[in-house]
Structure formats: C-alpha cells, structure tokens
Amino acid sequence: MDFLRPRTWAEALDLKAARPEATPIQGGTDVMVEINLDKGRPAALLDLTPIPELREWSREGDVIRLGAGVTYSRLIGELEARLPGLAQASRTVGSPQIRNRGTVAGNLGAASPAGDSHPPLLACDAVVEAESVRGARLIPIGEFYTGVKRNALAPDELIRAVRVPVARGPQYFSKIGTRNAMVIAVCSFSIALHAAERRVGTGVGSAAPTPRRAVAAEEFAAARLDWRGRSPLDPDVAGRFGELVAGAAAPIDDVRGRAAYRTHALAVLARRALGWAWADFRAGTGADSSAGSGGGDDRGSQ
C-alpha cells in the first residue's frame, strides 16, 4: 500500500489521475473502519487533509461553497443559521469524536443510502463540485447517487466542494434510530420550504438503494399549502404528504428495521417535519435572517 500526501490541490488531482485506484481519505471515519476490520485494502491512500483550501468554506451569492474538508463539527458551529437542515443532520452523525473528523464530502464519497447528509442536500438542491485534471464539473445532487455505495464520480475525480444554497425558509431533518447518538439511520427525512418560490424540497434516507427526493409529495405540498394566507396546516394535507413520502421509498428488510416499519416511520417523520416547518413559516422564523443582505461571516477556514 502507498500513502500519498499531496501538498496542494493541483498535486492531489495529478496523483488521482496517475493513480485512479487510490482511495481518497479525509476524516477516515469510513475508510479506516474498512481497513481496520480488513474489509478491503486500498492500493493506496490519498490523504487530502494537508490541503488548506479544502478546509475552507465561503459564501458566494446565495450559496455556501463548503470545502470538502470542512468537518461536521465546524459546519454545526459556523453554518447552522445558513444551512439549518444540513446542520441538524450533522448533529446526529456518530459522536463528537466522529463529527470532529467526518465530512460531508466523505459522506458523499461513501454514498451509503443511510448517510445523514444526503436528505438535506437533496431537499435544498445542493450541487457537488467535482474536479480532475480534465477540469471541473458541477453535479446536481439528484444525479450524484447512482447505486448502493456508488456515486457519479469518475475514477480520476475528487470532490472539491459542495455548493449548498443558503436557507430561504424553514428546514428540518429527522432520523429514526435506537438511541440519540451513534446511530445509523433506520430511515431519515429532510424538508426544506423554499418560501420565495413556494416550493417544497424533500430528501428520504435509508429507505431505497440511493437517497432520493419524494417528488410527488413535494408537488402535492407546494400546491396545497396556503403560502399567501399562511393559514394553519390542514391535517389531511399533512397526512397525505406523509403517505406520498412513504410511497416514494423502496425499503428493504435488514438488521436495522423491516421494510414495513420504515414505510410507516417515514410517513410519520414527514408529516411531523412538514408540521414543524409550516409552523415556523407562519411564525416567520426558521429562515436565515442574514440571507441576501450579508450579515454573518462570509468565509471560514481552519
């Protein structure tokens, strides 16, 4: 096994082009588990942690460009107001020690259907910034997941950053598990109200071969919510929304839960999440107060 330590991003891209079989490593919270448990030995490890710009995030217009090396702990500490859905999901990842190392880009690299970043990234239309010596390309999040633990990256590509729009309305993430920490989701759900566009975004986790949106539920809610009058949520609308979210899933029975349980739980999660988000919308809370007008830091690094 080789251990490759690029000092710069350009060097990392060169190394990945020369050694496409090399496994990138950031927090190592997926990669090292595999090696320690002898589930597979990479031909080489490509350590991305020395590259400073990967640890930076910046605000570019209405989008946060989240460097691939920004840890969950920093995302929670520095970006909670602007990326509330992703920050909530980050809070549920593993334990403090895992969040101090783990990254959203690592979650995307692993592309586990149970990864907690995926539902909020789907709900708020994130874009993955992939790069290789051939150039950079932007992959809409909905096209990123291609199968169980498979993603759209080419063998010579690395994730440079994830572009996540700043919240323009309430966002929630919820997840089913056996305890409050250290839990791989039995199923999970995220919602984002894009209030200005009168649109609802969703993401469903751990209930299909890939994380996915619940498009029929999004369209139903967008049409039935009283965006102008902000009247209370009709319980029938909430219930139907939950059913449509559950209908978008294609769960399996496994050690964490039965398919029937996942379907039921998803309907409940989705119904509740819509209720919380709508209550925030009516109260005029939950959106990023600094959106558009500046306010808050515009960049962060470590």
């Binding site: 096994m1 080789d2 251990f3 330590r5 490593i25 927090g27 190592g28 919270t29 990669v31 090292m32 588990v33 090696i35 320690n36 448990l37 030995r41 990479p42 080489a44 490890l45 350590d47 942690t49 702990s73 593993g94 334990s95 403090p96 020690q97 895992i98 101090n100 190392r101 409050n180 920490a181 250290m182």
Partner: protein, 174 residues
C-alpha cells in the same frame, strides 16, 4: 514509512509504519504509550480518544500518515510533572495520584473507574468538554459530550459525578 509527529509536547518519529496503520497503533505499539486503548477499532467506543491538534478524535480512525507533522496529546500527556513518558520507567509507577490532572483525580475520587478500560478515552473527552465549558455543564451537555464513549462497568452515573466534581474543582475559567 516514517511518521514524524509531536506527542505530549515531544517531537518524535515512528519508523516502519505500515501505510494502512492507525495513529492508535503507532502510539501504543511503536511509541510505547498504552494509555489510549484499543477496543473496537471502528470509532464506536471512544476508548482510543486523543487530542489531534487540540481536537479530540478516535485515534483508531486516524491513518498514521495523517498525523505527520501534527500534535498529539494522549491521556499520559494530561498529567503534570512526573507523568510517565516513553522510556521514563514503568507506566504504572505513580500510584500516589500526584501529578494527575483534576479530571483524572475526579474520576478516581468519584469511583468512576472500575476495570478502567474506558477511562483514558473518557478522561480526554471530559477534559475537552471542561476546557470549553463555563462552570459545571448540564447533565444533557455531559451526556452529549460523552455519547461516543462506552463503558461496560459503571453504568455511567459515577462518570457523570466525576465530570461534575472535576468541573467544580477546576472552578470557572480564568
């Protein structure tokens, strides 16, 4: 490969490191620091918790090469003065408890140590919590901070007592 790093304030190097090896293995097997424990090697138990550049992490999930040029503090490095350092005599030499950090002493005094296997990781994680905390942290905050540290013996109540005791003794931050 060779890995150069600073451990508990001392610049050091480990040789013949396998490229897939963890920082935990380097600390325990190559640098003679058995404080951080190896229990699960998958990030679940927290018994291998050490500081990496000031942030508590599971040493079992840090690739050895990722520690190149970085600063590691283990549980051995938290005690003062006569803390056993590599080559400085038996690791169990100091039974008096002198030189222990307040967090370590609080674990002993509160009865939070039974078999002791989880203790080094809990001590480092509790140390990190108290370094940030303003006064005695709430139960919810302690439980959240220690959520990644498993103990099979104590039932956790004495561990919570130990953290509160240490917080009280350490007093408010300067």
């Amino acid at each position: 490969m060779r890995v150069n790093l600073t451990v508990n304030g001392r610049a050091t190097a480990a040789d013949d490191v396998w490229e897939g090896e963890s920082l935990l293995y380097v600390l325990r097997e190559r640098l003679g620091l058995p404080g951080a424990k190896n229990a699960c090697e998958q990030g679940e138990c927290g018994s291998c918790t050490v500081y990496l550049d000031g942030t508590p992490v599971c040493a079992c999930l840090v690739a050895a090469g990722q520690a190149e040029g970085r600063e590691v503090v283990t549980v051995e490095g938290l005690s003062r003065g006569d803390a056993p350092l590599p080559g400085a005599g038996p690791a169990h030499g100091d039974v008096s408890g002198e030189g222990l950090h307040e967090v370590q002493r609080a674990f002993l005094d509160a009865g939070a140590v039974q078999c002791g296997f989880c203790t080094p990781g809990l001590v480092v994680q509790a140390h990190a919590l108290l370094a940030e905390a303003d006064g005695v942290p709430s139960d919810a905050d302690i439980r959240e901070a220690l959520a990644g540290n498993l103990c099979r013996c104590t039932g956790y109540e004495k561990i919570l007592d130990a953290v509160r005791l240490a917080a009280t003794r350490l007093g408010p931050p300067p």
